[in-house]
């Protein structure tokens, strides 16, 4: 993975000094809260319901064990012993004190981490496929480009005060695990007809109150020109994006109002005018970055491991975990281990400092020192020898991290909602816990099969409910929370926006409604089709009938 050199280290430490100074000026009253707000946001610091919240960037979701140990240390020393992994592949601390924040940032800088641009109206931490570099069917590893974009977007002189926040996601695979269609810019590495690899570029996707699937603006762009093209997109947005209305300020609205064709024309016109090479990194610089992502020292292994095969036969629980949570690896004899942070009835994405340490140690011993954070609020050990899978599983089990529910009904995405978030209109964590408890029986979950339930505590949709096969949106009317259900959303390569099925449900009845929807699917499915496949075949009607007949 990427390692800071002196240049990066200087950048981050100067940034901490700068922010420490801003905090001091704020405390002294030399900066008003209004002036301080955008500055602290650009350093990942939010003011929440009960306290400040610090959001730490995990660039494209990649961590090493030293970094994970440090996150655990920060959780113990400056927070309440846990952290929350988010849909942005970041980690949030919910209880830091303002005067401690510069010290936390110092600690992060020691392990080459920061909180720069995890919030604010700037280019946010770039996200990527969590299986980048290890997925069996990948076209090319997108991480070098994700790193390039991390650098390029950090304190960008022109694009740090945008109309609204800006999110870029990248994948190197046909299968989309990075939800690129729902990002301001979505990038996919792909081969053109000549066999050269370049970027397919999508712009204007987003969730929030006006969910939109991104439009394709470029079918193929030479890889080396990426930053030039991004500059053109950003400039068109920075100059023309709406600033009169916060809810219309995202780039998706600009694309929508201009029409994808006209927007693309403006971008291409700007791009044609640019002195592109001037803004591009040199070939040496690209190679320097790419070298950090060269494959680690994999051993030459056989496809199958006898001990592993034996464990699969002997231990059904282990075999079921492997079936759900372990994915094929690019390299023979290795596997990708997905660690569920969704224990039945638990808080999605939360990890205690003890769990973080256990995972860090496992990564060091058995995953070539790598960990990934997923947008589904889980973690990944990307480089595990098949031979070690059993030992890894046992260790995970010890720390209550071996739930075999990846992609199943209880692998729920939920935003923090009213328990923490100042913008929330309803609770979301308790609802996800309730649903998780209801559908928690693992036999039942396995029978239901692939199902993505996603919950947001307000229209901002941080819980990705629009992309949920079953989406739940918490709202409030006259002081009472209620929950709207959408069906048929998807965030993968066949992205779709979920459709509202009808009137909302109270916090007491929403779990019943979800269960009815799930049972309806189980009754009507044919030939092993998944929930989403069944929904796409039959539409919303049967589900509506079932739900509104019984409630």
């Amino acid at each position: 993975m990427y390692r800071y050199d002196e240049f990066d280290a200087t950048f981050v430490s100067e940034r901490v000094v700068q922010f420490r100074d801003q905090v001091e000026r704020r405390v002294k009253g030399e900066l008003s809260e209004e002036q301080f707000r955008p500055l602290r946001l650009m350093n990942g610091l939010y003011l929440q319901l009960h306290a400040y919240m610090l959001r730490v960037a995990v660039p494209y979701g990649t961590l090493n064990s030293r970094q994970m140990h440090k996150l655990a240390f920060i959780a113990d020393k400056f927070d309440r012993g846990y952290g929350h992994f988010t849909t942005r592949q970041n980690i949030q601390y919910n209880w830091p004190k303002l005067p401690d924040v510069p010290a936390i940032l110092d600690n992060l800088a020691e392990v080459e981490m920061h909180a720069i641009q995890t919030s604010g109206n700037c280019i946010r931490n770039v996200t990527a496929d969590q299986w980048s570099g290890v997925a069996a069917d990948e076209v090319e590893d997108p991480r070098p480009y994700a790193e390039l974009m991390r650098q390029w977007s950090s304190l960008h002189p022109e694009f740090s005060f945008l109309p609204r926040k800006f999110k870029i996601a990248v994948t190197g695979d046909e299968a989309d695990r990075a939800v690129i269609a729902y990002h301001d810019i979505g990038l996919r590495l792909k081969k053109n007809s000549a066999g050269d690899i370049g970027f397919e570029i999508f712009v204007g996707g987003g969730m929030g109150r006006t969910p939109m699937i991104a439009a394709r603006v470029r079918e193929w762009l030479p890889k080396s020109e990426l930053l030039g093209y991004l500059e053109a997109v950003m400039r068109v947005y920075n100059l023309n994006g709406r600033r009169d209305n916060k809810y219309k300020a995202r780039i998706k609205i600009l694309v929508h109002e201009l029409g994808a064709e006209e927007f693309t024309r403006q971008v291409e016109e700007e791009y044609a005018r640019l002195d592109v090479p001037q803004g591009l990194p040199s070939d040496q610089e690209l190679e320097r970055i790419a070298a950090y992502f060269a494959p680690p020292a994999y051993e030459d292994l056989a496809e199958n491991d006898a001990d592993h095969t034996q464990h699969l036969v002997d231990n059904k629980e282990f075999a079921e975990w492997v079936e759900r949570n372990v994915a094929p690896h690019k390299v023979t004899g290795y596997a990708i281990v997905n660690i569920s942070l969704k224990p039945v009835g638990g808080v999605p994405g939360d990890a205690t400092s003890g769990q973080m340490r256990a995972i860090a140690d496992l990564a060091q011993k058995m995953s070539l020192d790598e960990i990934r954070v997923t947008h589904e609020q889980n973690l990944v050990l990307p480089n595990v020898r098949k031979h070690d899978l059993f030992a890894v599983w046992q260790e995970l089990k010890e720390h209550k991290l071996a739930d075999a529910n990846l992609g199943l009904a209880t692998d729920i995405i939920s935003c923090p909602g009213l328990d923490y978030c100042g913008l929330a209109t309803a609770r979301s964590i308790p609802i996800s816990q309730d649903i998780s408890n209801r559908l928690g029986d693992i036999k039942r979950q396995r029978d239901i099969g692939d199902l993505k339930i996603k919950i947001s505590g307000c229209i901002n949709a941080c819980g990705h409910h629009h992309a949920g096969h079953i989406g739940i949106l918490g709202l409030e009317k006259r002081g009472v929370e209620y929950y709207q259900i959408t069906l048929g959303g998807s965030g993968d390569e066949n992205a779709a926006v979920g459709q509202i099925i009808g009137p909302g449900f109270s916090s007491e009845t929403v779990t019943d409604a979800v269960e009815t929807i799930v049972d309806t699917y189980v009754d009507l499915r044919q030939n092993g089709e998944t929930f989403l496949e069944a929904y796409r075949r039959v539409g919303a009607e049967p589900f509506k009938e079932a739900v509104y007949a019984t409630h």
Binding site: F11, L39, W152
Partner: protein
Amino acid sequence: MPLIRDGKIVEDSWVLLDDEAELPAKGDVILSLNRLKKDADTIQTRGGRTGVILENDVDEEDLAAYLPQIDLVALTFPAFTDGRAYSQARQLRTKLGFKGELRATGNVLADQATFLCRVGFDSFEVDNGQSIDVWNKALRSMSVAYQRGYDGEQATRDSNPSSQGKAQPTLA
């Protein structure tokens, strides 16, 4: 209003002229784009330099024809968080090749200093009680930057032509 240039508070020789006011025979004046267009001919014959203040929503291409007569362009920040003028400045410097004084006006804070300088601003009207020391400290706060092709004091990592001759930190 204090004006900062080259790290110092300096005397401002420029006067912002109201659209209705008469064009003085002498002295440095800043005009609106409309006024500039209207009086383009008279301007050439008067003694004193001409500047123009641009709104955030004008296309700077509109200015291209007049640029040879212009010594100063002022861009406005209606709010600290409104970043359109950064792109306008960038366009003026690169696309239109404007070499004169580029002034930041409106809601200008020291905490924007590095961004402003890198896109090509070189004078700053600051109206918020921040001292020149705060400004200069902010300006020196970052010695390195990642973006290539933007001017400014910071070093960029690679040896692209645009950053050559500037201090390069040694690489590990």
